[in-house]
């Protein structure tokens, strides 16, 4: 992998985050930072707190302690809709598409926050609202081309196979032109070919748009291939952080994650 990218300054800093649900400590005292334009992976066994970490970053969960700094703004609790408007987009472990809408409409919702013509203009449509709609449609069409899903543009997403749904979901996140893209197991449940496609899309996004990517992935091969740095979580605690090679040789990680595991490596 020879990608010419300039890793920039810290874009996201997670500082001493603790999150618990009743008695369950999902995250305890987690800190790490992600730099601009980097592909950053979060790995760990099942139930380690990976999804919870992403949920804290984009405001879906509110950690009891710690702060998150994104693009220089420090906050502990933020509303998900505001995090999205700040430039954080994500996909979900379980697909969360709008099942009653077409592929095109799903991806268009990704641009909703960038559109601003009011109700009156929308009702009339001809004129400003239509102009705005067409401009954003053009961006969405680029995303559709990029993800090679032209053929399913008008298909209701509920009827699509799993792999394509994941792709549409990525499309919806990309349409928002985020600064930070959070991907929760983007390749889970995919066959080899679909995985390769997905890897290519992720790397291309990172490469062409410079989008910073934080991803959760179970497939170690993929993680080692595409990420610049990795953080390892286990039982809500941080085990290690570093380049894929550093992490791979870390004894704690080998014990907890690859060795005598209490979870399954999918």
């Amino acid at each position: 992998m020879t990608y010419e990218r300039t890793i920039g300054d810290t874009i996201l800093a997670v500082d001493q985050i603790s999150l618990s649900f009743g008695g369950v400590k999902a995250l305890s005292d987690i800190s790490f930072s992600v730099r601009e334009h980097e592909v950053f992976a979060i790995i760990g066994p099942n139930g380690a707190g990976k999804s919870s970490m992403l949920n804290c970053i984009n405001g879906f969960y509110h950690p009891q302690e710690g702060t998150i700094t994104f693009k220089g703004k420090t906050r502990r609790q933020v509303r998900p809709s505001e995090a999205a408007r700040d430039g954080i987009a994500r996909t979900f472990q379980n697909i969360a598409l709008f099942s009653g809408m077409s592929t095109l409409d799903n991806i268009m919702t990704g641009r909703n926050t960038k559109m601003n013509k009011g109700l009156f203009w929308q009702a009339i449509r001809v004129g400003p609202a239509e102009k705005e709609e067409m401009a954003h449609r053009a961006v969405v069409e680029k995303v559709i081309d990029f993800l090679e899903i032209e053929a399913i543009r008008k298909t209701a997403v509920g009827t699509l196979p799993y792999g394509l749904q994941k792709r549409v979901e990525l499309g919806r996140a990309l349409a928002a032109e985020p600064d930070l893209l959070l991907l929760d197991e983007p390749m889970a449940g995919m066959n080899l070919e679909e995985k390769q496609d997905m890897c290519r899309f992720i790397l291309d996004v990172n490469d062409e748009f410079g989008t910073t990517i934080v991803l959760i992935e179970h497939d170690m091969g993929v993680v080692m291939d595409i990420s610049d740095r990795v953080v390892v979580l286990d039982y809500g605690k941080k085990l290690a952080e570093g380049t894929p090679d550093e992490v791979r040789t870390n004894q704690d990680v080998i014990d907890a994650y690859l060795g005598v595991s209490h979870g399954e490596d999918e």
Partner: protein, 358 residues
């Protein structure tokens, strides 16, 4: 054979997103509008206007309103009757206080008042969903009807408690009161409903409509892509109530002429409009019209066939009607939530492929 999209290529996003993308559809709708605007008014009489056409139009508008809220934004409401009452009473107060005010302005203002009331009663939707929200809107229904019964100011202290629509003109044509001609009243309703339907179609296929549908399909995901639930839900309540309010104003002024809240706007109105939306098709503009036509025509047809044709008692026809509607609603809820509009679409699909089975 003739209903094909073959050879019709779209060369711009704009053409691709037009309402009717197939030429035959445009032709069909055009012909329909020409007949509705240009031919029907010459043949319309009091019976056709009151029993069927205006009746369908007013309920289609109310159906559009509820469909925006329930079909597009996924928020249930049983308060439609109450919101129609708000529109009716707002128009009554406005037009009796300011007789010179153009009636179109009165209609729009009545819609605006209803939108505010609707937003207020929509506030619970930020916290509660489904069944609980339905109960909350039911409370609105009962409260509003009670209010219009109790507070004399709303019916100008008339001793009977009734409100009577005074004669009003639009562009020199009398559209309310007993002297208004059926053709004029019909054309007025038709124009209002056509404009509103077009506006609704435009809204639901744009940014705001997508934010409603996103909330409907998965509110958590909608929020995570930046849609503010407060904004989306309250705007749906506002726009929906605006439509329902205008429908209520038309219902009272142009269709009924006189009204009394306990009867004209009771809970059965709410259910009637809800059935229109379910049978016509949740989340479909066309469905609101199909549903309204269906709900209005079924009782009339049944009565004509069973009572006038076969000599059954009126009560028997009523029973059959209730059973038929009941089973249809169950059918549509379980088998085809997209209602008649979807069946129509399937028929078109078949027609497009004909004579091939698929």
């Amino acid at each position: 054979m003739f209903y094909r999209e073959a050879g019709q290529f779209k060369t711009s996003y704009k053409a691709d997103q037009a309402i009717f993308t197939i030429t035959q559809d445009k032709f069909f709708v055009g012909a329909f509008l020409i007949i509705a605007f240009g031919v029907v008014p010459f043949f319309i009489d009091d019976y056709w206007a009151n029993a069927i056409l205006i009746h369908v139009l007013v309920y289609a508008l109310a159906g559009l309103g509820l469909n925006i809220l329930t079909g597009y934004c996924g928020q249930v409401s049983l308060g439609t009757g109450g919101f129609m009452a708000v529109g009716a009473y707002a128009s009554y107060k406005l037009t009796t206080s300011f007789p010179e005010l153009n009636f179109i302005i009165v209609l729009l203002l009545s819609g605006g008042v209803t939108a505010c009331v609707g937003m207020f009663f929509g506030l619970p939707s930020l916290r509660i969903k489904g069944f609980y929200l339905a109960v909350a809107t039911l409370a609105a229904q009962f409260f509003l009807v009670w209010l219009f019964n109790k507070v004399g100011w709303f019916f100008n202290y008339s001793p009977t408690g009734m409100i009577v629509s005074p004669p009003r003109e639009v562009f020199g044509f009398l559209i309310t009161g007993p002297e208004a001609s059926p053709a004029v009243r019909y054309l007025f309703c038709l124009s209002v409903v056509t404009v509103f339907a077009l506006a609704a179609k435009n809204i639901v296929r744009g940014r705001i409509g997508r934010s409603w549908m996103a909330i409907r399909d998965m509110d958590i995901a909608a929020e995570l892509i930046g849609i503010r639930p407060l904004e989306a839900k309250l705007s749906a309540f506002a726009v929906s109530s605006f439509y329902v309010g205008v429908a209520g104003a038309l219902y009272f002024n142009v269709w009924l002429g006189t009204a009394e809240p306990t009867e004209a706007f009771d809970i059965f109105q709410s259910f009637f409009v809800l059935f229109i939306v379910i049978i016509g098709g949740l989340g479909s503009i066309l469905g609101s019209f199909l549903g309204a036509a269906f709900m209005v025509l079924v009782p009339i047809t049944l009565k004509t066939i069973m009572v006038d044709g076969m000599g059954f008692a009126v009560g028997a026809a009523k029973h059959v009607e209730v059973m038929l509607l009941g089973s249809l609603i169950i059918f549509f809820l379980i088998v085809e939530p997209h209602g008649l509009a979807r069946l129509w679409q399937i028929l078109k699909e078949k027609l497009r492929r004909w004579p091939f089975p698929y």
